[in-house]
């Protein structure tokens, strides 16, 4: 998290706000509620209280305007700049402006006013931009569901104002996982049109051959319709589809787009009803089979016929000597299977039918 220079903050915990005008995109009551909920996000974790004024000068003056709107800090039409706010202080200090050329909504169909307001009011209270992609104070817009503050945001605002003396139980989002944490484990690994995608918590890393530095992004900012938690994933390059598994459901992605008719239940693949989760999955290009790992067993799904091979489940330990533990994620490259389990990855040779190398899970992330 970052603060503004000189740690600008309100000296009084009772902060006033006033909404000067309204966007025609939403009902007045929706705008009032979005602003009030956005203020509550911050009052939940600090001693701050917010009092609404209907006339006169408030600490935080909230308004909608387009292009040049009176502060010589013009907006830019649709997209691009969505809003801005000024750090605590007299006059324009604390004032919060929304770009009226955006389309403001209550859901994820366009820019969600509540989320943008919560971010901007963070500025109005003294928070500057955070470099944590999972933080509310991260500069780039991203639609998320649930409580918007991450631990990073809470530490930042409490460094200015202290904690809420009467805290209500709030469940902050965990910070973005650190790729070089020696104990890092993966949720799932898949290829996607020549890139490697590694899922962990609400995030994924994207590795590209020409891009040595993995890029970390929120899953929901790329694929809003899939869950925040992925259990397993694999790519079927022939169909240009990536399958995502979470719980008993599966999603089919074609690039950024969700294939029609999904999500579906995993049992449609031929798995028995008692299977409630897939730990890992991997497509073996040389055989056209997809292996699905659950606990100590695995299944073989024939992509060409769309049916589960007979004689499964089979024991992982028996068919993959050296792999006597559950599998978090799996990938396949040029005759080698890579099994990821907790903070270790095992390189298994199909031809010699044994584990030939053991590495740290995050060695794939240049750590």
């Amino acid at each position: 998290y970052n603060h503004f220079p000189r740690n600008l903050k309100w000296q009084n915990n009772e902060v006033t706000f006033r909404i000067l005008n309204y966007t025609p995109d939403l009902k007045k009551t929706d705008v009032d509620r979005a602003v009030r909920n956005a203020l509550n996000v911050w009052s939940d974790v600090t001693p701050l209280t917010f009092k609404k004024l209907h006339q006169g000068n408030a600490d935080i003056m909230i308004s909608f305007g387009s292009k040049e709107h009176g502060d010589y800090n013009p907006f830019d039409g649709p997209n691009g700049l969505l809003a801005h706010a000024y750090p605590p202080g007299q006059g324009i200090g604390g004032d919060t402006h929304f770009d009226e050329d955006e389309h403001w909504t209550k859901d994820s169909s366009a820019y969600n006013l509540f989320i943008v307001a919560a971010h901007e009011l963070g500025h109005a209270l003294g928070m500057s931009h955070s470099a944590d992609p999972g933080a509310l104070m991260y500069p780039v817009y991203s639609y998320t569901t649930g409580y918007p503050l991450a631990e990073d945001d809470i530490e930042g605002i409490q460094a200015l104002y202290g904690p809420n003396p009467n805290p209500r139980k709030v469940k902050p989002k965990p910070d973005a996982p650190n790729k070089c944490d020696p104990m890092l484990s993966f949720d799932a690994v898949t290829e996607l049109r020549g890139e490697t995608i590694i899922f962990k918590d609400r995030f994924y890393w994207r590795l590209h051959p020409q891009m040595p530095e993995p890029e970390q992004t929120l899953i929901k900012s790329t694929w809003p319709s899939i869950p925040n938690k992925v259990d397993a994933a694999y790519e079927n390059p022939e169909k240009d589809v990536v399958m995502i598994f979470s719980g008993i459901r599966m999603w089919a992605l074609n690039g950024y787009n969700l294939v029609d008719g999904y999500p579906k239940y995993i049992h449609k693949l031929g798995l028995p009803k008692k299977i409630r989760k897939i730990d890992a999955s991997v497509y073996i290009r040389d055989t056209g089979k997809t292996l699905l790992f659950t606990d100590e067993d695995y299944w073989s799904y024939d992509e060409a016929t769309g049916t589960m091979d007979s004689g499964y489940p089979r024991s992982i330990e028996e068919d993959f000597p050296g792999m006597d533990d559950e599998i978090d994620a799996a990938s396949y490259h040029y005759g080698y299977l890579y099994f990821f389990h907790e903070h270790m990855q095992y390189e298994y040779s199909y031809t010699s039918r044994k584990v030939i190398r053991i590495m740290r899970t995050n060695s794939i992330l240049n750590c």
Binding site: G80, L82, E120, A131, V140, Y141, P212
Partner: protein, 82 residues
């Protein structure tokens, strides 16, 4: 004098202008004429600041990932500086 300078393709020029505007607004790139932006020291150092902030590969170059990020919808408050 014979010049080897070749006009930038219009798309490159647009990207360069977008980058210049982005860095001026969010990373305090000094205003005014900078000559050939891509080669100026100030321009490269501001790109590095932005790449460092967003945990991108710090190259000082206007690569695709950096440009992609500059084009995303965002808040108008600067990331760095007063």
């Amino acid at each position: 004098a014979h010049s080897f300078a070749v006009p930038l393709p219009s798309e490159d020029k647009d990207d360069l202008l977008l980058a210049e505007k982005y860095l001026r607004r969010f990373y305090g790139l000094p205003a005014g004429l900078q000559g050939r932006q891509r080669s100026s020291v100030a321009f490269q150092s501001k790109i590095k600041e932005m790449q460092k902030f967003f945990k991108l590969k710090v190259t000082g170059n206007l690569d695709d990932n950096t440009l992609d990020l500059m084009k995303q919808a965002r808040c108008g408050v600067p990331d760095i500086g007063e």
